[in-house]
Symmetry: none
DNA sequence: TAGCACCTATAGCAACGCTATATGAAGTGA
DNA sequence: TCACTTCATATAGCGTTGCTATAGGTGCTA
């Protein structure tokens, strides 16, 4: 009926909220349910978390830790784009196993907590994409690529969550994933060769150099020189 | 204070709900607010719509009509993939101008109404993609392509909605859009490059950029800027 | 022992979604 | 014209929600 009485009320509240949130089929979870399961009374909740939303934020933060841990856990394969694929799949998997947590994290607009979470997820991806950029494997700046891929990843995951379980088709995920990665990558594992002027190769090289510079802290240029240099690089990178 | 008394209560309820939903900054809208603005009492709402959710569904349905109308309004350009681009942009625009409506439509899981809406949006896209398929312009079945593109479209739109208005960057949309379309299309308007021997370092990238720049006559930099830029490049390239 | 944070409980408020019941208006058939 | 049905609206109030004013314990330090 109630929770482990040894644990402090704050922890019991967190666990109770997480459990109820996970098992509620989309229906809202009331503070009374939570406090009853945790074996405490209302003011305790508000003392520790200020708000119902505050409690949920704490639950989400915990869930996000789990998500990030999942994203970091596998060792780099040496093939950055392959790792990006695994990060994508891990993201989808997290959304499907914890749909309610995921919805609070990504399916809502909550100007306070959401951008931070999104930014974190983005930088995880960007980190990996930077490696790909250094290896000259992508033709788009890592930051933009990360934003774009993450957006598609979120969209796919929400789509799958909303779909009834029986006709949930993961092919949507793999197809969209590979489309996005293919689009930003320099591999031309596609038919007809390319002719185009050297312009896009300039862009690729500029992006690669930019990423490499970020990673290496080269000291060949003074900081003021470097600043201007990077600005020019960016200008070159973002030419059409 | 109240709404046009000439209109039937049902219509007034719909308009009041739509107006309040549009102007509420994410905060929930109560039935009491709605009935007060519409100038009716509670049972009237429940007589016509059964439910608060029923009323909201009706509002969403109206909003969806508007969305579909927007998707259909422009005449086909004869270039199906170009039309897909415009549908994408229209979708994003709809989401940004009616964020709360959009969130109810796409950012939630509501097993009843959502799949129908999604299916409709999907078939609009699929219709257009079928034309592209007939013209041999895509290399993926239209249905799968539509699902995939729509998922990415939704993800991007939610991303943009969640972003604070001042640093909302539509480039995310166009880039993701073109990535998705490029990935499913048979056109290979892609640059060469991807020559690199695999070893990646600042030096290699700098050399590559240097060579590429020599060959391409990029006009992103003025001649004086270019001169200094190349000098720095050389300094970086000849570092130990 | 006194004082002081900290934490928790009792009790209850205002607002919420919703409804049992009643009343009015409008049409229909004899 | 009159009962009868049907649809639409209103009065009043139920149960639940998120939240809080207030007070009581508990364990420290002085």
């Amino acid at each position: 009926m109630s929770f482990d009485d040894q644990l402090p009320p704050k922890t019991r509240l967190l666990r109770a909220a997480a459990e109820l949130l996970a098992n509620s089929d989309g229906s809202p979870v009331s503070t009374r349910q939570i406090t009853k399961l945790a074996g405490v009374t209302a003011p305790t909740l508000y003392h520790h978390f200020g708000d119902k939303e505050g409690l949920f934020d704490a639950v989400v933060a915990a869930g996000f830790e789990e998500y990030v841990a999942g994203e970091r856990d596998f060792a780099p394969s040496g093939e950055p784009l392959e790792d990006v694929r695994r990060m994508w799949d891990n993201h989808v998997q997290f959304g499907l196993t914890q749909p309610h947590l995921y919805l609070v994290m990504f399916g809502n607009i909550r100007p306070e907590s959401r951008p931070a979470i999104v930014a974190d997820a983005e930088s995880l991806l960007e980190e990996m994409l930077s490696k790909a950029a250094i290896a000259g494997q992508i033709n788009v700046p890592p930051r933009e690529a990360a934003r774009s891929i993450l957006a598609a990843n979120v969209g796919v995951t929400l789509m799958l969550i909303a779909e009834p379980l029986e006709d949930r088709n993961l092919e949507l995920s793999t197809m969209t994933r590979d489309s996005m990665i293919f689009a930003v990558s320099t591999e031309t594992a596609r038919g007809a060769a390319a002719d185009d002027s050297g312009k896009s190769s300039v862009v690729v090289a500029a992006i690669a150099l930019n990423a490499a510079l970020q990673a290496s802290h080269s000291d060949q240029l003074s900081s003021s020189e470097l600043k201007l240099f990077l600005e020019w690089l960016h200008r070159i990178s973002s030419s059409s």
